[in-house]
């Protein structure tokens, strides 16, 4: 590796906005500290990072399918799986979690060669991986790598932490054992395939159910103190850094004028995946029409599918989220870790309506820690939704506590802490 004045830090986030924007926050801080952050990106996600002024490197997949074909495949995949979002975490294991792990393993295999090529081109001094699976090209490249734990704190196991994706309480022993057994059985096939791939790529196999190891150098967790678990085996301070949120700089958002322009401001976003469920979002939009509040609703690319939107609702295909949350009184989201942490960072209560994956874990944690409430899709009624929203908008003590906590979080900005920790990992001659 050549020695350069400004160390090159290559970020490889999963192609989700949560991971991507989280990495952008850290990259902005690294740039301020004199490093050169660059992004490695998948074909369907180019443009996101250059929009923030960062260099992008596109990974060519080995498969011959075009971007359009891949896009169509996933549209069909989602359409097939939308009904599964109404199932419980345990029911989702075979219907959703296992097929998704299968697809993630396919992707890791498909990108391995292209990723090796891109890494050789960039020759980074350090790689930051924000994903749920290890790409062997990264582990083998020969420079330090940092893991950003993409999901909720449950992704890093402990006896006092409920199982990842379970949405369970640590005290629910019997259910936990049952969930763990079903999880291992459900992901057995993709896990075996993945371990075979790892072994061929020169990496040691991982224990059952695991697809990503911790880094020997640095692991970053977005786990603000207010929602952090008391672990039986505390994480090793040398290798683990727990961040108080990790919020990027974003241009201030101008709240639009609503035809019904009164009342508190509520932001609703279920992420890009959630925005594909038009029927569910339309139902929520109809249900909030009678609430004396203004609703900003992230509907993603499918804005043209909506009709009869009430005067207290504004639809948009994309929001500069941190700036919106900063101005709102309640955030209704799917339990993505990034969204949850941003709500905490700005002292805004969360109403979590989980779809899948670690959203279930976040929903439970929001209630347990008194930072919001939850609503499950399978039992949601319009009346219950209206009641939860109204109650949270009136929850002055919760808001006061969250505002106090936000002040403390903002004094320890996670993005800058992460950037400094990353630079500390660099070899001395870099």
């Amino acid at each position: 590796m050549t020695t350069r004045k400004s160390p090159v830090i290559a970020f490889f986030p999963e192609a989700s906005f949560g991971a991507a924007l989280n990495c952008i926050g850290i990259a902005q801080a690294l740039a301020k500290l004199g490093a050169t952050p660059v992004f490695i990106t998948h074909g369907g996600f180019t443009g996101v990072f250059s929009d923030y002024g960062f260099e992008e490197h596109y990974v060519e997949p080995s498969s011959a399918s075009t971007i359009e074909e891949t896009g169509r495949y996933w549209e069909e995949f989602l359409a097939r799986h939308l009904p599964h979002f109404n199932l419980t975490p345990q029911q989702q294991l075979t219907t959703y979690v296992a097929p998704v792990w299968d697809a993630i393993v396919d992707t890791a295999v498909d990108l391995e060669q292209g990723l090796t090529h891109v890494l050789n081109q960039i020759a980074p001094d350090l790689i930051v991986l924000d994903n749920v699976i290890m790409f062997p090209a990264i582990a083998r490249f020969g420079c330090p790598w940092v893991r950003i734990v993409s999901c909720a704190e449950t992704e890093v196991r402990d006896a006092n932490v409920p199982p990842y994706l379970s949405g369970l309480d640590p005290s629910e022993g019997l259910q936990i054992a049952e969930f763990n057994a079903e999880y291992l059985e459900a992901v057995d096939r993709p896990h075996k395939r993945y371990n075979t791939f790892r072994t061929h790529a020169g990496l040691a196999p991982l224990p059952a159910g695991e697809f990503l190891e911790n880094s020997d150098d640095l692991n970053l967790l977005l786990a603000p103190s207010i929602v952090r678990f008391e672990r039986e085996a505390p994480l090793e301070a040398r290798r683990f850094s727990l961040l108080e949120g990790c919020v990027r700089d974003e241009r201030p958002y101008q709240v639009p004028e609503f035809p019904a322009n009164d009342g508190p401001l509520v932001y609703l976003s279920f992420g890009s995946l959630g925005s594909t469920d038009v029927q569910f979002l339309q139902r929520i939009i109809d249900a909030v029409a009678t609430i004396p509040a203004r609703f900003l609703v992230n509907v993603g690319a499918l804005i043209e599918s909506y009709s009869k939107v009430p005067d207290n609702v504004h639809l948009q295909d994309w929001f500069p989220q941190p700036s919106v949350i900063e101005q709102c009184d309640l955030f209704i989201h799917h339990g993505g870790n990034n969204s949850f942490c941003e709500a905490l960072y700005f002292g805004v209560p969360s109403l979590v309506i989980p779809y899948c994956w670690d959203g279930h874990d976040t929903a439970r944690r929001a209630v347990e820690c008194g930072v919001g409430d939850r609503l499950d899709r399978w039992s949601m009624t319009d009346a219950l939704l209206q009641e939860k929203i109204t109650t949270l908008l009136d929850a002055a003590p919760m808001r006061a506590r969250l505002q106090e906590n936000a002040k403390a979080m903002q004094q320890k900005p996670g993005a800058m802490t992460a950037a400094r920790k990353i630079l500390d990992v660099l070899p001395a001659n870099t």
């Binding site: 192609a15 896009g71 396919d106 992707t107 498909d110 974003e250 201030p252 995946l273 925005s275 939107v309």
Partner: protein
């Protein structure tokens, strides 16, 4: 159609005339001359001058009438005044309501009259105005159908394709000539925004500056058909109703691209300016994935959408 925004629009036109004429601070603003230049009677000019006085651009002369109080070349043009469409407020509300799907695909005079609390005649005029702007078409019976708005994905893609065909070629067309005074104002406006701190440029300020730049190019074309088409399309684009977001980085990059195009034009290099315009328009087509999320096999998502 009577709306509260008419004097503002006329005031914007008067400022345009003043910039072109090079009138100095302290000189008289002659109603007759302005009325002639703006092709209107003196009454709307008088109303607009009152507004200009409130805005600090004009001051009352001791002998009656108004004098120019601030040099339009040295001040940033008032954003609202410059960029609201002539029938402004109500048209914008309709477009915003349609973009946010509060209005259905078709509307009637009665519906608009009720919704916006205006007389039926005003609602009728509003629809005619929307039709003239290419936003609605008359359907059978009492209904008017919305066309695709410029803020919608497919329209944006078509708009970029159209502009890529037209704007670079327009720069190369015979007789193309930038008005120096107006270019100076656009440059000042742009440099003012670029001097702001990080994340301090508001989206509406950027969009106003963007419109001013592209209208400058449109006005520089001598072929009236091309000039009018470019003007109308850019005004329609500005009126798209959806409040899209653009990153601070891209806003600044885009503004710097405007300045480079102006540099090339001022240095007598239209071919370079045309190439830079092509690059500018392509750069503005930033891509974002339409679907991707954690918990799904996001790393293979490839659906994309075009954005301004």
């Amino acid at each position: 159609m009577k709306t509260s925004n008419r004097p503002a629009a006329m005031a914007g036109k008067i400022l345009d005339v003043l910039i072109d004429s090079g009138l100095a601070v302290g000189e008289r603003l002659v109603e007759n001359t302005l009325a002639e230049a703006c092709h209107v009677s003196r009454t709307p000019i008088r109303n607009a001058l009152q507004l200009l006085e409130q805005q600090g651009y004009a001051s009352k002369a001791p002998e009656g009438g108004y004098v120019l109080a601030r040099d339009p070349l040295t001040v940033r043009l008032d954003a609202d005044m410059k960029t609201d469409p002539p029938e402004g407020v109500l048209v914008e509300r309709v477009v915003r309501d349609r973009a946010s799907r509060r209005l259905g695909a078709s509307v009637t005079v009665s519906e608009l009259s009720r919704r916006y609390n205006v007389p039926r005649a005003a609602a009728q005029n509003l629809l005619l105005d929307l039709k003239s702007k290419g936003i609605v078409d008359k359907a059978d019976g009492q209904s008017w159908m919305f066309k695709q708005l410029m803020g919608e994905q497919s329209s944006q893609a078509h708009s970029f394709e159209f502009r890529l065909m037209l704007e670079p070629e327009a720069i190369l067309s015979e007789g193309f000539r930038i008005e120096k005074n107006r270019a100076a104002v656009v440059r000042l406006q742009t440099e003012d925004l670029l001097a702001r701190a990080e994340n301090a440029i508001r989206l509406d300020e950027f969009r106003n500056a963007d419109l001013a730049f592209h209208l400058l190019i449109a006005r520089a074309v001598t072929n009236p058909y091309i000039s009018e088409t470019m003007t109308n399309h850019n005004q329609l684009r500005h009126l798209h109703g959806a409040s899209h977001t653009i990153s601070d980085f891209r806003m600044r990059q885009s503004l710097r691209e405007h300045l480079r195009i102006l540099d090339a034009l001022e240095q007598g290099m239209p071919a370079v300016a045309a190439d830079l315009m092509r690059v500018h328009l392509r750069m503005s087509k930033s891509n974002r994935p339409s679907v991707a999320n954690r918990g799904a096999p996001a790393i293979m998502f490839a659906g994309r959408m075009q954005r301004t």
